[in-house]
Symmetry: D2
Amino acid sequence: MNPVCLVIGAGAGIGGTVGARFAREGYHACLCRRSDEEGLNRLVEGIRSDGGSATGFLLNAVEPGAIEERVAAVEADIGPIEVAIYNLGAQIGDRALQDTSLKAFETGWRLGTFGLFRLASVLFPLMVERGKGTLLVTSSTAAMRGNGGQHSHAAAMGGRRMLCQSLNAEFASKGIHVVHIVIDGAVDAPDTLGKMLGAEKFQQLRETRGNEHDGLMLPAQIAETYVHLARQHRSTWTHEIDLRAFSDRPWWNH
Amino acid sequence: MNPVCLVIGAGAGIGGTVGARFAREGYHACLCRRSDEEGLNRLVEGIRSDGGSATGFLLNAVEPGAIEERVAAVEADIGPIEVAIYNLGAQIGDRALQDTSLKAFETGWRLGTFGLFRLASVLFPLMVERGKGTLLVTSSTAAMRGNGGQHSHAAAMGGRRMLCQSLNAEFASKGIHVVHIVIDGAVDAPDTLGKMLGAEKFQQLRETRGNEHDGLMLPAQIAETYVHLARQHRSTWTHEIDLRAFSDRPWWNH
Amino acid sequence: MNPVCLVIGAGAGIGGTVGARFAREGYHACLCRRSDEEGLNRLVEGIRSDGGSATGFLLNAVEPGAIEERVAAVEADIGPIEVAIYNLGAQIGDRALQDTSLKAFETGWRLGTFGLFRLASVLFPLMVERGKGTLLVTSSTAAMRGNGGQHSHAAAMGGRRMLCQSLNAEFASKGIHVVHIVIDGAVDAPDTLGKMLGAEKFQQLRETRGNEHDGLMLPAQIAETYVHLARQHRSTWTHEIDLRAFSDRPWWNH
Amino acid sequence: MNPVCLVIGAGAGIGGTVGARFAREGYHACLCRRSDEEGLNRLVEGIRSDGGSATGFLLNAVEPGAIEERVAAVEADIGPIEVAIYNLGAQIGDRALQDTSLKAFETGWRLGTFGLFRLASVLFPLMVERGKGTLLVTSSTAAMRGNGGQHSHAAAMGGRRMLCQSLNAEFASKGIHVVHIVIDGAVDAPDTLGKMLGAEKFQQLRETRGNEHDGLMLPAQIAETYVHLARQHRSTWTHEIDLRAFSDRPWWNH
C-alpha cells in the first residue's frame, strides 16, 4: 500500500503539481479542491497516465466538518496520511480597508489560518501515534510583513505563520515535521495568478519576465523543494524556507 | 471640549492605567470592558477624583456591532476620538493542541485580530477626514513567535501584528499613527495575570521578582511609554516597540 | 554634580541635538566628534547659552585607545557617565561590490561594530559597579536587512544589532539599559545627509518632503524619544524601537 | 572537466562532508582548511577512494591575500568554481564581555564576516561573466539573535547575514545564487563541537541525544540540503533556510 500524500488546495499551480510530484515518489496523491471537477479529474488522470496513483475530492474547506471528514475518510479508505500539504491561499488582491468587508476578512482567516488549525487538530493525533508525519504549509510574503491593501491576507497569513511555529513547538519532538514555506513571488499558475490578472495580462507577464518564463516561479520546480523537505532526515529538519525567482527581489527589499 | 481617548479592554492592568494616564494629559477617557461594572466604576471614579474626565462602558467586543456602535456613540455624544488603545488580550494559558477547541481558537481570533480590524474599519475613515489620529495596539510575545500551547494565542497575535503593518502601510501617510507594542513579559496586573495564577501564586511572584516588585512590568510605567508614543511628532513615528522588565530575558533569548 | 551624557558621534544631526536635549534634562553633555572643531564649539556654546553644561572633544573613534581614553578621562575629570549615546554612522552611500574596497569594508566595521564593542568594554564594568547605566545606540535600516550597494554598511549594522542583543543579554539584569534604535528614514541632518546629497539636492529634498519639512526626520523630535528611552523605569525597558517619518514607508515595505 | 566546488572551512563536520557529497555529484572538490594536513589528506583520500575527485589546500583565511590567491589558483589550475561553500565558524564558546579581548572580537569578524566579503569580491566578478554561480554560506543561531557570552560570535554572524542579503540584492538577477543557511543546533562534528566539549562530554552528548544519535545534526544529512539548494532552478531560489534536529527547539523558543 502506498503512503498517502493529502493536498488541500490542489489547483493547477503549486497544489496539483506538488501532488503529482509526490505521486512520482510513490505516494498515493489525494487531491482536494473546492470546485472545477473537470480540472480535478484532469489532474488525477494526468497522474495515473504517468503511472502514479491518485484520487480527487471536491472539498469546501470553510464548511464545518469538511476537512475533518475528508481526513477521516482518507485514513479509513485509502491509508495513513504521511505527508499533508496545506496549500489554500487567501489572497484577494489589494483592497483598501474600506473595500475589505467583515465577511472578506473572516473568509481570509477561515482559509488562511483556521483551516490549517482544523487540519492539524484531526491529523496530528494520528501522526503522533505513528511517530511520524510531515505537514508542508504553503505560505506567502504576507506572512512576513503587512502591506497596503493586504489587511485580510496579511492577518490570515501572519496567523498561519505563528500557528506553524506553535505546532512545531509541540510536535517536532514527537516526530512531526512542520514546514512554513514562504512563496515570495509570483507563481506561474493559471488558476490563481492567471485569474487575478486576466488571460491577456497573465500571458504578457509570462512573456516579459525573463527567458523561459523563469521570472515567474515554476510550480514543477517548487515541487522539487517540497519533496526535498519531506525527505529531510529528522536530524536535520527545516522549519522555514523562502523561495523566489532569481530575477525578483525578496520581500525585505521591496 | 477634551479630546477623547478610547480604551478597548480597560481592566485594572494596562488598559485602565493607560486610560487614567491619558486623562491626566487632558483627554476624556472612554473606558470599555466586558464585565465587572463595579471595577469599571472604580476606575472612572479614580480618574474623576484626580480631576480627570472619564466615562465607562460595558462592551462585549466579540458581539457583532458592539465596537462599531460604541465608536459611533462616543463620537456623537462625547467627541472625536484622537487616541484609541486596543488592549484586548487573547491569552488563554498554555493548552495542548488537543485541548484547544475550535471555539477557543475562533474566540482568540475574534478578540485578537478581528476586533482590531473592526475598530479600524469604523474609526479610520473618521480620523482620515480629520487628518490625524493614533491607534496604540497592545500586543505580546506571541505576536513575534509561536510556542508550545500557544496555538490560539499566537495565531491571533500574529494576525494582529500583520494587520497593524497593513494598516500602517495604508494610513500613515494620511496622518494616522499605528503602533504595535510588544509587551514581552509578565505584567503586574491583578485582573489578568493575577486571575490566571490565583491570588497566592500571584502574590508570591510579586514578592520574588525583584526589589519593589519591579521584575513584573508596572502598568503605571507602561503608561508612560504609551503617552510618549501618542505624543511623537509625525516626522518621527514609531511603529514597533518592545517592552520588558530589566530582569527578564527578551523573547529571542528564551 | 551633574550626571554625564557622553555622545560618540556628535554632529549637527542626531548626535549634537540629542546631546543638547540631555543637557536640558540636567546632564553634562560630553560631545565627541572626529573633526570640525568649529562646529563642535558651536554646539557646546549653544548648550551653554541655553543654560546647560557641556564639553566638546575631538575624537577619532577608529584610532586604537581613543574611545577607551576618552571614557577614562571623562569619568576622572567630569563625572560618572550615566547615559552614553553611540551615534557613529557607517553609511558610505550605495556602492557596488566592485567599488567597495577591503579598506572601506573594514572601516565600516570599525565605526559600525567594533567601536561600540570597545565603548561597552570600558564603560559597562563601571556601570555594573554603579548598578545602573544607559546605552542608546543609533542604528539604521541596514541593521534589519541588506540591500544593493550596502555591503559594508549592512554588515557593520547587522553586527551592531546582534552585539546590542548580546550586551543586553549579559547586562540588563545588572541594571544596564541597552537600546537599539532603528532610524528607518532620512534625517534632516546637514552634516551627513546634506553632505552626501550636496547642498542643492538636500535643499530640494527638504522642500519636497512634506509640509514643515516633516517628511524628513527632525533631530529635535528624535531627541524626545531618546530622552524617553533613557527615562524608562527598569520594570519597563525597551530594547528595540523603530522611527520614521509618517510619510515614509517602513523598511519592510520598500 | 568537472565543475569545481570550493569549500572554505573543510573540517570533519559540515565542510568536509558537504565537499564529499558534491564530489559524488560530479564536482571536483577543493577543500581548504587552516591546519591538520593529515585530516585534510584523509578527506581527500576518502573522496578519491569513493571514485570522486578532490584536492586539499591548507589555507589561513585571516591572512591577507590568502583567499584571493586560492580562488585565482583554483580557477587557473583546476577550473571554474561553480559552487562555493563558506563554512568558517567564529564560535569561541560563551565568554563574558570582560573575557572577550579586542583581538578575539576582531578575529571573529575576520573569520565570520570579512572573509566572506573577500571571497565574494574575487569570485563574483568571475561568476557574473559566466552568468551563474552558487554561494552557500553556513551560518548559525547567532546570526539571528545575540545572546549572553556571544558578543564576538553574534556580531560576526549578524554581519554575515546582512552581507548575504546585500550580495543577493546585487547579484541574484545576474544569476548568482546566495544562500544563508542557519544551522540552528549542535552538529555531530568531532572537529568543532567535539573539541569544544572534550572527548568525554561529546561522547556523552552523542549517546543521550536521541536514538541513532539523531538529536545531533548529522553532517551527511545536512549535506543533502546543501546539494538540493545548489540544484534549485533559478525560477525557485531559496535565500534563507534553517536546519535543526527534530528533538531541538528553534532559536525563537529558547
